[in-house]
């Protein structure tokens, strides 16, 4: 089959794997954006910077405190998520009654400040972060080699995405979140502390970005620019999936990662634009996104 298409099997599976890996990050990040947009109606442009902060937190924990990958995977999301809660309490809280564009502008500005600050201190070249020894090594699958760490990234992303979807769609806490998305005043009048729930939701969305950042650290370089590079694509993913749709964000993230990877095999020139072409086509035919509700 591969001979007919004029490509080699290792090249095909190699790009497929890269696509699924990229898709894992797209899914994690667009999931966080969807959770935040659904509840706060804030377009969180600082999400890429928060992803970068996750990776840097892991790096700094290692360099200064000797805390390794596994603890960082837990601690970095907590630390960056707590920073997100402060951001929500101090800044975002005042924007809920205003047009979405104010939230976008504010978070965009905060992203520039954070990324500029990190560039000042760490320069724009990347710093390496080692793969944890437990996950070193490669599996020979016969048709391709699969590095253990990359398999772990795919599994971790799938588990977190599914867990988040389950929590929101199938639990009591999730029903509070969904109801508060529709009518926060009434949910609060039932005795639920909606402002607290909003803060924690933002913190959770930010923690997802930071978790993605820690997962990414051993694969990509830890660099102040890593967030900027990925966030534009992630926004395209969110638009394609449908703003605020949890399932849409996850499925679209993985699918578009694969689409992007396979485009590299068949028509490499288009690989960096294919996602935006898909976005245009989706917006023309389904303006609310593939999974969005009108």
């Amino acid at each position: 089959m591969f001979d007919l298409l004029g490509i080699s099997a290792p090249a095909f599976f190699g790009q497929l794997l890269i696509g699924v890996i990229n898709g894992s990050f797209y899914a994690l990040l667009s999931l966080g954006l969807a959770v935040i947009f659904g509840m706060l109606h804030i377009i969180n442009f600082v999400h890429g910077a928060q992803y970068m902060l996750g990776a840097f937190t892991a790096l700094l924990l290692l360099n200064y405190l000797g805390i390794g990958y596994w603890w960082s995977l837990l601690l970095a999301p907590l630390i960056v998520g707590a920073f997100g809660i402060v951001l929500e309490r101090v800044f975002l809280r005042h924007l809920y009654k205003l047009d979405h564009v104010y939230g976008l502008l504010l978070t965009f500005g905060i992203a520039l400040v954070i990324e500029g600050t990190f560039r000042e201190f760490f320069g724009s070249s990347g710093q390496p972060y080692g793969i944890p020894p437990e996950l070193a090594g490669v599996q020979n699958l016969g048709f391709m080699f699969l590095p253990n760490y990359r398999a772990w990234v795919i599994v971790a992303s799938l588990v977190v995405c599914f867990g988040t979807w389950f929590m929101i769609e199938r639990t009591r806490l999730g029903s509070y979140l969904r109801a508060a998305t529709e009518n926060p005043a009434l949910v609060q009048a039932f005795g639920i502390n909606v402002p607290l729930m909003v803060s924690l939701t933002y913190g959770f969305g930010v923690a997802l970005a930071a978790f993605g950042g820690v997962l990414a650290a051993p694969i990509y370089q830890v660099s102040p620019l890593m967030g900027i590079n990925i966030i534009i694509v992630v926004f395209a993913v969110v638009v394609i999936g449908g703003m605020g749709s949890i399932l849409g964000a996850v499925v679209t993230g993985f699918v578009l990662g694969v689409v992007e990877g396979l485009t590299k095999v068949f028509y490499p020139e288009a690989s960096s634009t294919v996602i935006f072409v898909v976005m245009v086509l989706v917006l023309l035919t389904r303006p609310t996104g593939l999974f969005g509700r009108a």
Binding site: A179, E182, N183, L186, Q188, A189, P195
Partner: protein
């Protein structure tokens, strides 16, 4: 009105504002424990705003609202709900992204002693078979039953019901009336806002007439016959 020790809710000199507009101009009334008090008045008199102010859903409010001995005027609405007040809004507030049973289980239980699901389904049998439907797929009458049913689980003592019969067919209005009488006999205290006066006079113990953001008259149901003409003048019917 005189102070009595059994007043469960006492509203005094309540003012409420939406932005620049001043809606309530010093509302005063009390609701006794176990009583069904009905607020009547024309559209725009301030009845719904009164309920929402009691529930803490109008941020700009002054005066005093004392529930079971607690001053609530400065509390946010989730704290007020936790004291034991439940609200059933005029638009019913059924959540489209939740199933009927998720809607039913949404309001958290605040005090022990609320009705359990079986008792609620006994009161509103239609809801039992629709438990897995999407909340807003129910008919208007079923949505109203769900909106009332879900606050009965919480163990609150004071129910604020905003126009429960609005837009319903006569047979459904009768069913809602029967359930409200059943709730009264279970000892609930109810503050009802109702445009449908023929419905209200069959369930209420007392009427407070609102005009331009004030209570202008109070009529116990025993005096209703003699004062009907007076009341109709207030209501413009």
């Amino acid at each position: 009105m005189t102070d009595t020790p059994t007043a469960l809710l006492r509203v005094s000199d309540l003012h409420a504002y939406y932005g620049e507009s001043h809606i309530l101009h010093g509302v005063n009334f009390e609701v006794q424990e176990g009583e069904l008090l009905c607020l009547v008045g024309r559209n725009g008199a301030g009845k719904t705003t009164t309920l929402k102010s009691i529930m803490g859903m109008i941020p700009q409010r002054t005066g005093s609202i004392v529930y079971a001995g607690n001053e609530t005027i400065r509390l946010s609405s989730h704290r007020i709900a936790r004291l034991g007040i439940s609200f059933c809004p005029e638009e019913r507030g059924i959540f489209a992204s939740l199933t009927v049973s998720e809607n039913m289980l949404l309001p958290p239980v605040i005090h022990p002693g609320g009705m359990d699901l079986d008792e609620i389904y006994e009161l509103f049998p239609n809801l039992r078979e629709r438990a897995r439907s999407q909340g807003t797929k129910l008919s208007g009458g079923e949505q109203q039953m769900l909106a009332i049913g879900r606050i009965l689980r919480t163990g609150t003592k004071l129910l604020l019901l905003d126009e429960p019969t609005e837009g319903l067919a006569p047979v459904l209005i009768q069913q809602i009336g029967a359930s409200i009488r059943a709730l009264k006999s279970k000892g609930y205290t109810i503050l009802l806002v109702e445009q449908n006066f023929r419905f209200a006079e069959r369930v209420a113990d007392r009427f407070c007439v609102m005009e331009h953001g004030r209570i202008v008259d109070t009529i116990p149901v025993e005096e209703l016959e003699g004062r009907r003409a007076e009341l109709h003048e207030h209501l413009g019917v």
